[in-house]
C-alpha cells in the first residue's frame, strides 16, 4: 500500500477508486467511438460516391463540405454543434447528441476522402473488363470494384479509427463526460499526475485493440494483390 502511495502520490483508496471511474470513462469513449463509426462510415461511402459523381453540382457541394470540415478544428466543430442551435433557434441540444453529430460530420468527410481515393485507385481496365463481359454498371461496381476498394481502404481507415479513439478527448470542450474528463478531475482532486498516466494507458489499450483488429482484417485480405 505504501508502495503505491509512494510512486503514485495518491493514497491507496483514491487510487483504487480511480480505476472504476476510469473504466466508466473508457465506456463513454467506446460509445462515442462506436456511434461515430456506425454513422460516419456509411456516410463517408455516400460522400465518396457524391464526390466521384458526374453531377458537378453535387460533387461541388460535397467538395466544399469536405474542405470546411477538414480545414477547421474538430474542437471548433464540437463547439458549433453544441452552441449554435441555441443561438440560432433558441434550443439547447442534447449534449451527447451534439457531440456525436460533430464527430460524424467530421469523420464522414475524412472517410469520404479515403474511400474516394480508394475508388479512384482502381484501374480503368477493371471497369472495361466488366463492361466487355456484359456486366451492368451496378454489377461492375458491387462485384468487381467495391471488393478491391475495401482491401485498399482498410489500412488508412484503420489509422483514422485510431485517431478517433484519441479525438474523443476533444469532447472535453463541450463538457461531455469521458475518460479525459475523469483524468482531469481525479488529477485535480488528488494533486497528482498519476490519473493522466492511467488515462494514457487506457487510451493506449483501446488504440492497440483497434490496431490489432485492423491488422487481422488486413491479413485476412492478404490472399490477393
Amino acid at each position: 500500500m505504501e508502495f503505491i502511495e509512494n510512486i503514485t502520490g495518491m493514497d491507496a483508496t483514491a487510487f483504487t477508486a480511480m480505476i472504476p471511474n476510469m473504466l466508466v470513462g473508457c465506456w463513454q469513449v467506446i460509445q462515442i467511438f462506436l456511434l461515430t463509426v456506425l454513422f460516419a462510415v456509411p456516410l463517408g461511402f455516400l460522400v465518396a460516391l457524391g464526390r466521384t459523381s458526374r453531377f458537378k453540382i453535387l460533387s461541388g457541394i460535397i467538395r466544399i463540405y469536405q474542405l470546411i470540415v477538414r480545414g477547421t478544428p474538430l474542437m471548433l466543430q464540437l463547439m458549433f454543434c453544441m452552441y449554435a442551435p441555441s443561438f440560432l433557434f433558441g434550443l439547447t441540444p442534447h449534449r451527447f447528441a451534439a457531440c456525436i453529430i460533430a464527430f460524424v460530420i467530421n469523420y464522414a468527410a475524412y472517410f469520404g476522402e479515403i474511400f474516394r481515393s480508394g475508388i479512384q485507385s482502381i484501374p480503368q481496365g477493371q471497369y472495361e473488363a466488366g463492361k466487355v463481359l456484359g456486366y451492368t454498371k451496378t454489377q461492375v461496381f458491387f462485384h468487381i470494384i467495391l471488393p478491391q476498394v475495401v482491401k485498399r481502404v482498410i489500412p488508412p481507415t484503420g489509422s483514422e479509427f485510431m485517431v478517433l479513439v484519441k479525438d474523443t478527448a476533444l469532447a472535453q470542450i463541450i463538457a461531455q463526460p469521458q475518460l479525459f474528463d475523469i483524468a482531469i478531475k481525479t488529477a485535480a482532486k488528488n494533486v497528482s499526475i498519476t490519473p493522466y498516466i492511467a488515462a494514457g494507458v487506457f487510451y493506449l489499450i483501446m488504440s492497440a485493440v483497434v490496431e490489432f483488429a485492423f491488422k487481422k482484417l488486413e491479413s485476412k485480405l492478404d490472399y490477393y494483390r
Binding site: 481496365g125 463492361k131 466487355v132 463481359l133 456486366y135 490477393y224
Partner: protein, 253 residues
C-alpha cells in the same frame, strides 16, 4: 456471312481525328491481323467495335445486329438490349489482361456466365474447367491472378472471354505486355482457336504471327486503312510505300 461490318467509321478525341473513314468486313471463321505504327488508331478502332468508345460517325453491325448507324451526321446507337446482345457476341482480350485480382482463376472464368448469362454454378464450373484444360491451366484453377505468370494470366483472360461463348474474339496486342519467352504460348493458343475456325481480329506487332495465322492482314496508319490483303501479299509484295517502310523498320529490329 460477315460477323463484323464496319463502314466509314470516324472518331475524334477533341481536335485529334484518330479514325478517318475506316471500313472493315470480317467473315465468319476469318482471322484478321491489324498491324500499324503506334498511334495509328488500332486500339481505338477495336474499342469502337467493342463499345468501349463511341464512334462519331459510321455504321457498325456485329453478329447481324446493328450497333450504330449515322443519321444527319450523328451517330445513332441501338437500344440497350441489342447493345447487350452484341457485347455477349463479341469478346475482347486486353493487352494487360485486366483479370479480377480478388477472384480465383476459376471464379474469373465462371463469374460472368453465372452473373450475366444466369448459368448455374455447376454448369459454369464445368465449362470453365474444360476451357482451362484447353488453355493448359487445369492445375491453376484455384490460384489467384497475382500468383500466375503473365502468359498464364493472359490465357486465363482468353478462357474468361471464351466462357461467354462469343462468336467473335478481339485481341488488342495480347502479347505486348509479356516477356518475349512467354509470347509463344499465347500465340499458340490463338493459332489453336484459328484452327477451330474462331472468328478473330488481332491487333499485333508480331509480324511472323500475322503472316502465319491471319487470313488477311490490315495495315493501318494515321487513322486510315492504308492497305490490306492476304499475308503473302502484304509481307511479300506490299503496294504502298508506307506499308513497305513500316515493314522494313520491323525487319531491322
Amino acid at each position: 456471312m460477315n460477323l463484323i461490318e464496319a463502314n466509314h467509321i470516324e472518331k475524334s478525341f477533341g481536335e485529334l481525328q484518330v479514325l478517318r473513314d475506316i471500313s472493315m468486313h470480317v467473315a465468319e471463321g476469318e482471322v484478321v491481323a491489324i498491324i500499324g505504327p503506334s498511334g495509328s488508331g488500332k486500339s481505338t478502332f477495336l474499342r469502337c467495335l467493342t463499345q468501349l468508345e463511341t464512334a462519331d460517325r459510321g455504321e457498325i453491325t456485329i453478329c447481324g445486329k446493328q450497333m450504330m448507324h449515322t443519321e444527319d451526321n450523328h451517330a445513332v446507337f441501338a437500344d440497350p438490349k441489342t447493345l447487350h446482345e452484341i457485347t455477349l457476341c463479341a469478346g475482347l482480350v486486353f493487352q494487360n489482361f485486366n483479370l479480377f485480382p480478388h477472384r480465383s482463376v476459376l471464379q474469373n472464368v465462371t463469374d460472368a456466365p453465372i452473373r450475366v448469362l444466369g448459368v448455374s454454378k455447376s454448369e459454369a464450373q464445368q465449362t470453365a474447367r474444360t476451357l482451362l484444360e484447353k488453355m493448359n491451366l487445369s492445375d491453376r484453377a484455384d490460384y489467384y491472378p497475382c500468383q500466375l505468370s503473365g502468359g498464364q494470366q493472359q490465357r486465363v483472360a482468353i478462357a474468361r472471354a471464351l466462357a461467354l461463348n462469343p462468336r467473335v474474339l478481339f485481341f488488342d496486342e495480347p502479347t505486348s505486355a509479356l516477356d518475349p519467352e512467354l509470347t509463344g504460348e499465347i500465340l499458340r493458343v490463338i493459332r489453336q482457336l484459328a484452327d477451330e475456325h474462331m472468328t478473330m481480329v488481332v491487333v499485333t506487332h508480331e509480324m511472323a504471327f500475322a503472316r502465319d495465322v491471319a487470313d488477311r492482314v490490315i495495315f493501318m496508319d494515321g487513322g486510315v486503312i492504308v492497305e490490306q490483303g492476304r499475308p503473302e501479299e502484304i509481307f511479300g509484295d506490299a503496294q504502298n510505300e508506307r506499308t513497305r517502310a513500316f515493314l522494313s523498320s520491323f525487319a531491322q529490329n
